[in-house]
Symmetry: C2
Subunit: 404 residues, 2 copies
């Protein structure tokens, strides 16, 4: 007898938007089960139901209590998972649904942005060993000290799925979504964009952090840390999808071109340079839960420095609050906000051993009259902040230069 493999399948909001799509999802699960696998399923909330709940809350409060928001939003996944379990049971497949706390998903106490600390998974294992398809609510967990329900924030359901796969020793984690996988560029912007069949965790991390929305960085990190292969594929087509794994056979110089036009560029200028200012400043931002992305700091001759960084557009007011405070504390001349920016990046593990990739990128943008206002690099990524209106032109030219 071969031992059974365990597969974790995660289904995004559009995959579970209504009872018709839930039936498609059920078939995906049954196909996997019928191949002799144990199956753990992590569904998101149905369609836009989370947004609808958020809207209701904002009708009742301009600043809803984070603890109560978690209580509210955790209801969404409950509805999907129990409906899915009801359907599987009615098709003759034993199934049980478990909330985050029932599944033993222990998180930090930070409401709305909790981090998974541990998955005990006792009832998941019990359920599997009695022959059930076990459905676990994505996006939610439980803090032991406060005894409170938490939610994991954006990308939380993916993170739940990959973390569960790690905790349970699953063979792989399948992320079902409404696109065919990870593309060399956003296919809505670049016509030539191609599906990537295989990509390394490192590259996928850079893709995710620099704008590829299909998979969030936090779930890729889990996959890398515990070496869980992640497959990103469509619920609704039979495409093979994209395999995210430790090492790909052949390292492309550039695997993908990404963009992010949901960020704003902030600049704190005329700061008298002294040790520790960057730490103080970005410490304050990080304590407020602001996701700073690119950071550029230049010290001029007069020991006066400008610090620029990008942050998500929906955190604008939070950042501004901190900027205006820190600006005084650090005796800065002032600060500046530029909303008309976009970040384009090229990502590829092959860059490590190939020189001149960055300058080819700058040249390509320059030839297309695209101005670069910030640059940041990693061993496998180069990112440029440009004017937002140039995004499409930049993506197309970079994709043409490096990929197609």
């Amino acid at each position: 007898m071969f031992p059974m493999s365990l597969i974790v399948q995660k289904f995004g909001g559009t995959s579970v938007a209504n009872t018709e799509s839930l039936q498609v999802v059920a078939q995906r699960i049954i196909d996997c089960k019928n191949k002799g696998n144990d199956v753990v399923v992590v569904p998101s909330a149905m369609g836009s139901s989370t947004d609808e709940l958020i809207n209701l809350a904002h009708e009742l409060s301009s600043k809803p209590s984070p603890r109560e928001m978690d209580m509210l939003l955790s209801a969404g996944e409950r509805i999907t998972m129990s409906l899915l379990s009801i359907h599987l049971n009615s098709l003759g497949y034993k199934s049980i649904s478990l909330t985050g706390s029932q599944a033993g998903i222990i998180t930090s106490s930070r409401h709305g942005k909790a981090e998974i600390e541990e998955i005990t998974g006792e009832r998941v294992r019990e359920g599997l060993s009695s022959g059930n398809i076990v459905i676990v609510a994505g996006f939610q967990g439980f803090n032991r000290d406060t005894r409170e329900i938490t939610t994991l924030g954006r990308g939380g359901s993916d993170a739940t799925a990959v973390a569960l796969a790690a905790a349970l020793g699953a063979e792989r984690c399948e992320i079902f979504t409404d696109v065919d996988g990870v593309f060399t560029a956003d296919p809505r912007v670049v016509n030539d964009a191609k599906l990537i069949e295989e990509i390394s965790y490192d590259e996928m991390l850079e893709m995710a952090s620099s704008g590829a929305g299909v998979l969030m960085a936090r779930s890729v990190e889990f996959g890398r840390r515990y070496n869980i292969p992640i497959i990103v594929k469509s619920t609704f087509t039979n495409n093979k999808g994209t395999l995210v794994t430790e090492k790909t056979m052949e390292e492309a110089i550039v695997s993908g071109v990404t963009h992010n036009d949901k960020e704003i560029k902030f600049t704190l200028y005329g700061v008298p340079d002294q040790p520790g200012i960057a730490g103080k400043f970005f410490g304050a931002l990080s304590e407020s839960g602001i996701n700073v992305d690119m950071i550029v700091q230049n010290v001029s001759k007069k020991s006066i420095t400008d610090i620029s960084f990008t942050a998500p557009v929906d955190q604008k007011s939070d950042v501004e609050e901190i900027l205006s405070k820190v600006s005084k504390d650090l005796n800065a001349e002032g600060y500046d906000i530029d909303e008309n920016v976009a970040r384009v990046s090229i990502i590829g593990a092959g860059m490590k051993s190939e020189s001149g990739v960055a300058s080819r990128m700058f040249n390509t943008l320059g030839k297309n009259s695209i101005n670069i206002s910030m640059i940041s690099t990693s061993p496998i990524r180069v990112s440029c902040v440009i004017n937002r209106k140039d995004t499409k032109k930049a993506l197309e030219s970079l994709h043409k230069e490096f990929i197609s």
Copy 2:
């Protein structure tokens, strides 16, 4: 210093149907808090959201797993309670919402129809002593042995509220609904129906069991057992409502006239009479969770008996299944189903000391050419099953005879 009083306020589905009505509800709660009371709030699910979830489940399964249905339906109250808490917090009133299990509502393990066994209420007390308005999800609880979430079935939120009031030693339990209180007859049918200002638990129990839908019998039973005054009143008007309490000052001969046209009459006929057949038969019905109401059994000279009873129309197929089985087991000649029935009842604590009330009822119906097909009585109630088409005429004539 006077000690603070504790009030439990329950709000029904129509009272929390949307964000506008939630704001009205919040004002009711704040008014109560501002009078110096501690307040515990039990909200239902929003409007028809429970029915919508049930419909979704039935799209996916003709016989949804009861365990999963409880998981599904418990989401409804979560949404209301967290929205309400968000709103109260935003108005400057500290508030915390708790699920049934967080509040320590321990129930039997029967999914969909669980019974409250105990309320530990630890976190409710903690919340109150830190100055919070504590919102507890109605309708749901937790079974210790199975570690499962349960729901309480129809009237479950009322039961939660009254049981919480008992467990916490509340001064009273206020049931807010979309009508002004308990009436002497259904005001939609009888124009002259009047609001009852005060009624005893016993009378209210008979009213509830015989068709007055405003309050379910199970919550009245909790109130009676622990002597918790219950006030039934409207969320949307400033009427005083109806006080349900141990003993009213003056016992009316007839306090109310009720009707129930959501029942079917079943008759098992030609059963050879022998000891224990009724026990066997009604035992089988009760095990299947069927709420049998009126029971009439007549033994004829030939030791052949007919057994008639009424049961809710939505349990018709379940009853029929058992009838056809038991009919054979007991060697009965057959069974019969009459769907065109209604039950009218008169209720009054004064009946105990007043003779001739039942015959006055039969005479009144007779004078109006209304045929009686079943009769059952309690010390404070007389019920007659009649033809459904005569309901309005029966109610009006009985109300005129005994009340207006």
